[in-house]
Structure formats: C-alpha cells, structure tokens
Amino acid sequence: MTLLKMEEITKVFPGVRANDGVTFDLQAGEIHALVGENGAGKTTLMNILYGLYKPDSGTIYLRDKPIIIKNPRDAINQGIGMVHQHFMLVPVFSVLENIVLGKETHTAGVLQFQKPSEEIEAIMQANGLFVDLNARVEDIPVGLQQRVEILKILYRGAETLVFDEPTAVLTPQEVDDLFKTFRMMKEQGKGIIFISHKLDEVLALADRITVIRRGKVVQTLERKEATKPLIAELMVGKPVLLKVEKKPPSPGRVVLEVKDLTMTSAQGHRILDNISLNVRAGEIYGIAGVEGNGQTELIRAIAYKTKLESGDVLLEGDSILHWDVRTRRENGIGHIPEDRRRYGLLLPFSLADNLVLGQHHREPFVKGPQWVDSARVRSYARETIKAYDVRTPSEMTPANALSGGNQQKAIIAREMNFEPIVLVAAQPTRGVDIGATEFVYQQLIAARDKGKAVLLISADLDEILSLSDRIGVMFKGKIIHEFSQGEATKEKVGLYMTGEKESA
C-alpha cells in the first residue's frame, strides 16, 4: 500500500530550483533512503513534507488522498514525524516530560503521567527503544536522546517517520540498535524515510534508494540493483574515488607528545586518565573511539589552554601547557574544530576575514602594530579560494551564505594555508557531502605528505581506518590500544572501542 506520495513537487527560491518536479513515494512497511549531496534538495523536500515550506506546485497524497500540510502541527496530525539532526529536547526535563510535551494528558489542568507512561512503555517494548523515563535528558547520552526523539513522534502516532542523518552522532553499537528499531517499525507497517550520507548504512537498511541531484530525482533504485559506486556516481554525476589513495608514510621525528594527561570533571569523573600518545612528522595518527570518551578534552588540551591535573603536552620538545591559544597557533598548532558552526567561522563576517582568522593579528595581514591591510587580506583570500576551490560568489560574501561543505573547505583551507606543524583535525567530514569529504581526505593526506603531524579524531571508523597510519583507540580517557598501520580492521578496532577488550 502506498503510504505517502509526493508528486511533481517544485519549490523555487529566487535563483535556485531547490526541488524541480520531484516525485517520491513511500510504501507502508518500507525503508526508503533519500541520498544526495549537500544542497541537492533532500532537506527542502522533507521540510515541505513536514510543513515548514509550502511547495510552489505539486501534490502530497497520504494513502492516495491529496492532503495539504500547512505547518508541522498538520504534519504530526497526519501521522508524519521527523527526527531532526539536532534534537529538539528540553535538557532539564525528564525523558517522560519531553515525550509528553505538546500532547499532555491532564485532569482539570493537573498533569497525569501514569497513563502516558504506560503507553510509552508499550511503545518502547514494541520498538526496542528502551530509555529510563525518569532520567533527565541532559544526563543521558546522545544515542538515548535520539530514542527520546523517536518515542516522541511514535507517541504522537506517527506512521511516516523521517530521519535526517540519524547515525551522524551515534556509536557503531548505537547504530546497530537504531537499525533494529527501524526493522521493528517496518514490520509494524510504518514507513521510514532515511536521509544519510553513509552509503554503507543505506545499503544495509533501505528497501529502495532515491538519489537526488540538483533538485531533481536522478533515479529510484531497488535495493538489489544498487551498489555503492553506482549510488555515488548518481549522486555527484561523475564517478568518485571512494577508496583513499595514499603513499606509504615516511614518519620523521616526534613532533607532538602528550604525556600522562589527567583531568577530572567538576562532577568527579575521570575524563582523561593518564593518557599518553605521540604523533610524528609526516604521519596521520587516528583516534578511534566512541564519542564522549575524552576526545573533546584531549583536543582542548592540545589546541586550547586548559586546566589539567597532571601531565604535559610537548610541541617539538617544549611544554605548551602554559601557552594561550594565540601562542599555540603562532607556534604551529592548527586545528579543525569539531563543531564548525560554533567554533570555526565568524558567520556574519566575510569569507576573506574568516580565511585569515587566527593569523589576522600579524604580518602580512596587519601593517605596523594595528593597521589591518584589507587589500592584502582580500588578495590572500582570493588566492586561497582559488587554490582550495571554495565555491563562493566572492571573497567578500559572508560565511553564513556558504553551504556546509564549502564552509568546511574554507576552514581547512585556512588551517592548511597557515602551514602548521601539527594539525588537529576533529570530525573533519561530519555532515559534509561526498565531494567535500573527498577534498578533506586529499588535504589531510597532502598535509601528511608535506611532513606535518596530523592528529585525526573522528567518530567515523571508516574514515579513521582509511586515513590513519597509526590508530589509537580511546576508551574512558585513555588510549587502550594502539594499532600500527595495516593491522587494524574494523572488527578489531570495534572491540576495543566498546571496551570489550581492555588490555593496553
């Protein structure tokens, strides 16, 4: 049975046809993957379905009846639910409170929790989504928060569920659990639209795969006819090299040394536990690990001035712990931040300003002690934009006008162009499309080949495995195992990541 059909949907923003006659359908009991590069029009299409945008033309049918969705409330009433990439939860509320929020049961204005919690328990049981209903949302890990989001929409009776890159924030184990839930929901006859950049997941899960490029549906594939190279080719319109090509490394001296770092959180948790590692010039040292095992704090200890209990960080033999960020940058520590929108770019500022950020305070961008040489900044920016192929109307375009992939390109261009000695790259491909991912990989390998020490931290195990020359697995604040190049496989690393193996 056709649960949902979007027919000939067109949405034009001035200058762009975001959706151009898109036809898309979803069967009951089907997982339908929607793939495409950033900016291809997936999000626009889903926002139309969810009532956030009004299509210029086209019709949405629900169980063969045409419907009009004016706003998210309509969508929810029609049984359409969406799990956004960024969760919409109230951190200080309990799980239960978050789930019932907006659909509260009350008698004479007094909230009732007994009946809802029984209903929710039943939903949890049916879909394998177990969460402690009394826990506060801010205290539970991201994977569980996502379950709360799913429970929220199931509690509202959703039949059509849209997931916008749900696995981006999850550990491999959590991904498996999520997929189990997907299959259970599928068996109940629900329809699932699954947006993802990770082709492995798409292939593992989807019944059909629709590829969108430049606002148009390129093709809808049945699972059995789909292969990874085929999808990738349809997405970008040309074959892409998914396999990372790199020369064998020629590591030099140790450039970055982390020695016995220990750090305890305000709540008394050991976040970094006597961690030690070293990175050589000309190698990529990858840190694999489930997020929240101290990676963020390790990055901060290297790139920022952080309070630590004990231990030391050495750059070419000098302790850098008492250096502030500026001194660290001046002495060759480059950093691609985990969250580019929060840390990486001054969004309202021009691309040119952003491309010099971090070295903006010194020659050649400043003449004398204070005078900003804007002509120089602009010409430098133009060269950088050209060299790194950042797509922008001009160097004076504000950073917030660029697409996610181009923003990331700009950050990488900036950090690379400063010629750092050590490059700390945190989640460098998170949320960027295949084209930009390829670019990031090339740049990291180029940095390595130029003799820079690259420390790569990523939640994407494939990325770690294909780029790193050495891999350290981080678990509960320490490196519990180090793999040399070649001996690491997904399975082996995975065992250490989950703490099943704990020998050093």
């Binding site: 500026r326 840390y343 500022f349 900003v372 006008a401």
Partner: protein, 365 residues
C-alpha cells in the same frame, strides 16, 4: 557585476530604518486623530518646531551631539558583546572630572580644552573600571553592576557638588561647582557655519563638542573597521567561542572595549557643562546614557548608523516639544511614538537582514 550587487544590499540596509520611521509617523498621525488633532496640524507642529527655521534645524543637530557620543559609547561595548548600561553614570563622573580640570587647572586655552576632554574620558573610564573588572575577573553581570554604579555616580555627584566642591553663591544659590575657567569653556562654531552659508543664530549651541563628536566618530570608525583591535572587538561580539578558537584574548578585548566605552561616555556631558552652563551640577540632563542604548541599537552599532539614529532621536525630542506646544497631543504620547519607532525600526531591520542573508545564500548556492 559583483560590486553592483553588494551595493544593492547596502541600499536595502540603509533604507530599512527609514521604513520604520515612516511606519511610526503613520502611527503618530493615527494617535493624533484619536486625540482629535487632524494629521495636517500634527505634521505642521512637528515641522514648525524642527525645520521651519535654520535655528530650529540647527537645534536638532545641537541636541544630537551628546546623543551621538552616547550612542557611540554604547555601541563600542555592544560590538564586543558587553552591555554597558552604565554610560549614564560614566558621563556624570566623566563630566565631573573634566569640570574639575576646567575649574582648577590654570592652562592656556589651546591645551586646556584637550586636557579637559582627556580628563573627562579618564573619569568615564575610571567609572567603568570596577564593573569591567568584576565582569572579566569574576563573571558578575555588567548590567547589574553598571546600573548600581549609575546610582552611586549620581549620589556622589550630588554630595560633591553640595559639599567639598560647592561653589554655591558665586552666581546663584543652586548647588553647583565654581565656574569653569575662561580658557576651558567651549566656544561656539556658529560663525563657521555662517561662513559656509548656513545661518545658525547665536542662541543655538554649535560648540566645540561638535568637533569632539566628529573626532570620536572617526576614531571609533577607524578602530572598528581598520584596526586589528577593532576586528577582534567585532569578532568577540560575534562569537566568543570562535574568538577563543582563533586565539583572540577574549577577556582582554572585552575589558578594553568596556573601558573605551566608558571613556567615550565621559564626553557626553561636555556640551552642557562647558558650553551651556559653564559649571558642573548634578542637575545636568540625565537619561542620555539610556537613550544611547536605543541609539546604538537603531544605528546597528556603527558610527555611521549612530549619526543617523542620534539625529533621529534629537528630531523626535524636538518634535515632541513641538507637539506639546502647538497641538493637544500629550508629551507622553511622543514618548510612546519614540518607543513605537524603535520597535518598527528594529523589526524591519531584522526582516531586511534576514532577506539579505537568504539572497546571499542563494547566490552562493
């Protein structure tokens, strides 16, 4: 091609406040009708009191001078993400310190006037220092401390003028300081304008404070848009996270911007003290610091925008007097109108900004 497009957006940005003004004027006329005043009479009253003679028009600009300085002071702190609500107190203290230099330092005119200006700036900065350090060092919110410091400043001025610094009896029996020396008093520039063909009558105060305002406007513009320090101020005001990531010393920048704001605030009262009164009293016009907040907001924290918004505010003030004199629109309503106008301007600004951002995004896509 590229240039033209950027200019197009600039024009949108420039015109959006005018739309707000227009909308507010319509509201004013409606209110006028409601209290039984026909729109033509309302408009005529405004015109009469603000633009009918060169003296009226010049008065608007004269009134705008301290407002401009106030807007400038608030905006530089805003730019760094600091809410300096203490401009009010800072100009009371700045004015006092400047006045002391004007009363007690025997200096030749050519040095005396710059010295009083610098002393006023030091006074203002000094009054900002403690709230600034509390914010930077201890994280005490500056809105609370600066409001308290406003009250302290007023009380302090009151005490000093009545007590140790009192010059009561010299000219009048009001509480006030001794007279400011001849060499420190601000002369008028009216004859300059007359030479340029703008006949400003002698009773209008186009005095040296105009020069101070122009110099400060240029300096602040240079600071914000041409100097590295200003770049860092703007960066910190945009995102402390990104600034920290980029190695900008966030606290130092915020401290500096706070003190700079206080220093500029110190200059607000100079026109009244040195040109109009010739002595200091705690009765100098209050509330200019708070006006500065709205002025900075409407002027989008840029010196050019603040020129526009301070003149607009001065115009509103004068228009209010006009309405009070010539129509039955109560003065309170004119305050309502300024409020409505600010609201319209802010909202329309926001819409235009979003529109431009969306357009830019499409261009880049």
């Amino acid at each position: 091609m590229r240039k033209i497009k950027i200019d197009k957006y600039h024009i949108y940005e420039l015109f959006s406040p005018l739309l707000g003004v227009l909308a507010a004027i319509i509201v004013l006329l409606i209110i006028g009708v409601a209290v039984g005043e026909n729109p033509a009479a309302t408009l005529k009253a405004i015109y009469k009191f603000t633009m009918s003679t060169s003296g009226r028009l010049a008065t608007v600009f004269s009134v705008a001078i301290p407002l401009f300085i106030s807007g400038l002071a608030v905006s530089i702190a805003f730019r760094a993400g600091v809410f300096n609500i203490g401009v009010e107190g800072q100009y009371f203290i700045g004015g006092l310190v400047g006045a002391l230099a004007g009363i007690y330092l025997p200096l030749p005119r050519i040095i005396h006037i710059p010295v009083v200006a610098i002393c006023a700036m030091l006074g203002g900065a000094l009054w900002a220092l403690i709230p600034a350090m509390l914010k930077i060092g201890k994280g005490v919110h500056e809105v609370i401390t600066t409001i308290m410091f406003n009250n302290i400043a007023l009380a302090l001025a009151n005490y000093l003028v009545n007590g140790p610094l009192s010059g009561r009896g010299e000219v009048s029996l009001e509480a006030q300081t001794h007279h400011i020396r001849e060499t420190a008093q601000f002369g008028k520039l009216n004859h300059w304008f007359r030479a340029l063909g703008w006949n400003i009558p002698n009773h209008v105060f186009m005095d040296y404070s105009l020069i101070i305002a122009i110099i400060m406007g240029i300096l602040v513009w240079l600071l914000l848009f041409r100097l590295r320090y200003g770049f860092e101020i703007r960066a910190v005001g945009t995102s402390t996270d990104v600034s920290e990531y980029a190695g900008i010393r966030v606290k130092r920048i915020q401290l500096g911007a706070f003190l700079t704001s206080g220093a500029i605030a110190g200059l607000i009262g100079l026109q009244e003290i040195f040109a109009i009164r010739g002595f200091y009293t705690y009765e100098i016009a209050a509330g200019l610091g708070f006006d500065g907040i709205a002025i900075a907001l409407i002027g989008r924290n840029s010196p050019l925008g603040v020129i526009f918004s301070s003149i607009l505010f001065a115009f509103l003030t004068q228009a209010g007097y006009g309405l009070q004199l010539y129509t039955s629109v109560p003065l309170a309503i004119t305050f309502v109108i300024s409020g409505v106008m600010i609201l319209f301007i802010v909202v329309i600004n926001e819409i235009v900004t979003r529109y431009i951002r969306a357009q830019r995004k499409k261009e880049a896509a």
